[in-house]
């Protein structure tokens, strides 16, 4: 019994040294440099003054397999109608200026140059009630048409998230696809109340900003949400021990000087 499908193959890129991860031998396969090397625990380099390295260094990565909540696949897509830009150019720009397209009040402390596999970025995410969540991501994959992050333990989501662009009928389409579980029971409780809507609004605003940067005006971001697995993984309920929202809140309560970092942005 056989099934076939035709699809574009991957393009090899030149070897790129990884950062913030233990040295690991790279395969001789042409696409080896598209992927980060395995890491047992995340390491963070120089921390910007305004960033908080509270919930990243020393953490393991946690994908959908290691999450607690229901498994969701969420897709956000926008057509850059009217923009004269190729998918490769979209991805190049996006990798170079990733945090610039984020909604106000949210901060991405990534590399000064383009995103590359193996790089760790610190995040300051705005939560309801003027609270923030300090966490991070690892760039696990990057090529000319896409790049992907994986989240650390304690992040709101145990997830893979892929950012890509492709051509459709002569128009560049930009897509974000996340495969995620809430990391722990507390985050899972917030999913129907606030987390889903906040996430949707975040990526809608990001894609709107990205589209505007290429001159595509009045675009509509399409959103699809599919529950891939209704079951919760109770064996990962203990993830709450690393809940970055709780740890960030406790840290800020005990370090008043942090109250004035970015507090006026939102």
């Amino acid at each position: 019994m056989t099934t076939e499908t035709g699809q574009p193959g991957g393009d090899p890129t030149e070897a790129i040294p990884t950062e913030a991860s233990p040295a690991a031998p790279m395969s001789a396969a042409p696409a080896a440099s598209n992927w980060a090397a395995p890491v047992s625990r995340l390491a963070v380099g120089v921390v910007p003054t305004d960033a908080l390295n509270l919930n990243v260094a020393g953490r393991r990565l946690a994908g959908p397999v290691q999450g607690f909540g229901q498994l969701w696949q969420k897709t956000y897509r926008v057509r850059l109608t009217g923009a004269d830009v190729t998918p490769a150019a979209v991805i190049r720009t996006w990798k170079e200026h990733f945090g610039d397209f984020w909604p106000k009040g949210n901060h991405f402390y990534g590399p000064l140059t383009s995103l590359k596999p193996g790089e760790v970025a610190l995040l300051d995410l705005a939560l309801p009630g003027k609270m923030t969540l300090s966490t991070g991501v690892l760039v696990i994959f990057a090529d000319d048409e896409s790049f992907a992050f994986m989240t650390p333990e304690g992040h709101q989501f145990a997830s893979f998230i892929t950012f890509s662009s492709y051509a459709d009928d002569g128009v560049a389409v930009v897509q974000i696809q996340a495969l995620l579980r809430a990391s722990d029971p507390l985050y899972e409780l917030s999913m129907p109340i606030v987390a889903q809507r906040t996430e949707d609004r975040f990526w809608n605003d990001t894609l709107q900003a990205l589209a505007a940067s290429f001159g595509a005006a009045d675009v509509t971001v399409e959103m699809e949400r599919v529950c891939v697995d209704h079951r919760r993984q109770w064996r990962y309920a203990g993830n709450i021990r690393q809940n970055a929202a709780i740890r960030t809140a406790l840290y800020k309560l005990t370090h008043p000087r942090t109250w004035f970092h970015h507090s006026g942005d939102a």
Binding site: T5, G9, L61, P64, F160
Partner: protein, 117 residues
């Protein structure tokens, strides 16, 4: 350049089926892979073994696809195992922690023994 992914299914025993991948695993492979799983899985099936010996390319969309397959397998009370991964792809499974849930084996024989064929 366009490559074609072909997927074969072999039933090793009433309890174990193998899905053999020739080509790429990306998000575009989803219909073919899920169709193969539907063919591989019957009432008595307890283990699905993925043969990656002829895997040509795997991107982040493909990793997401394998997570989706894992969910379907687990929903049926089955196990998912794999063999034939090159060192490069083993590292990807380790990086993404898919190896926490998918048993990785050095050979088909080892995978089949572990699957309980």
């Amino acid at each position: 350049m366009t490559t074609t992914t072909t997927i074969e299914v072999q039933r090793l025993s009433p309890n174990v089926s193998t899905i053999i991948i020739h080509g790429d695993i990306t998000s575009g492979t989803e219909p073919a892979l899920m169709d193969a799983y539907a063919q591989a899985s019957e009432d008595a099936t307890r283990s699905i073994v993925l043969d990656f010996s002829d895997l040509a390319y795997l991107n982040s969309g493909g990793i997401g696809l394998l997570v989706t397959l894992l969910v379907r397998v687990q929903r049926q009370g089955q196990r998912l195992l794999a063999f034939g991964l090159s060192e490069h792809y083993r590292q990807i499974f380790e990086l993404t922690r898919l190896d926490d849930a998918i048993g990785i084996h050095d050979s088909e024989a080892a995978a089949v023994v572990a699957a309980g064929a």
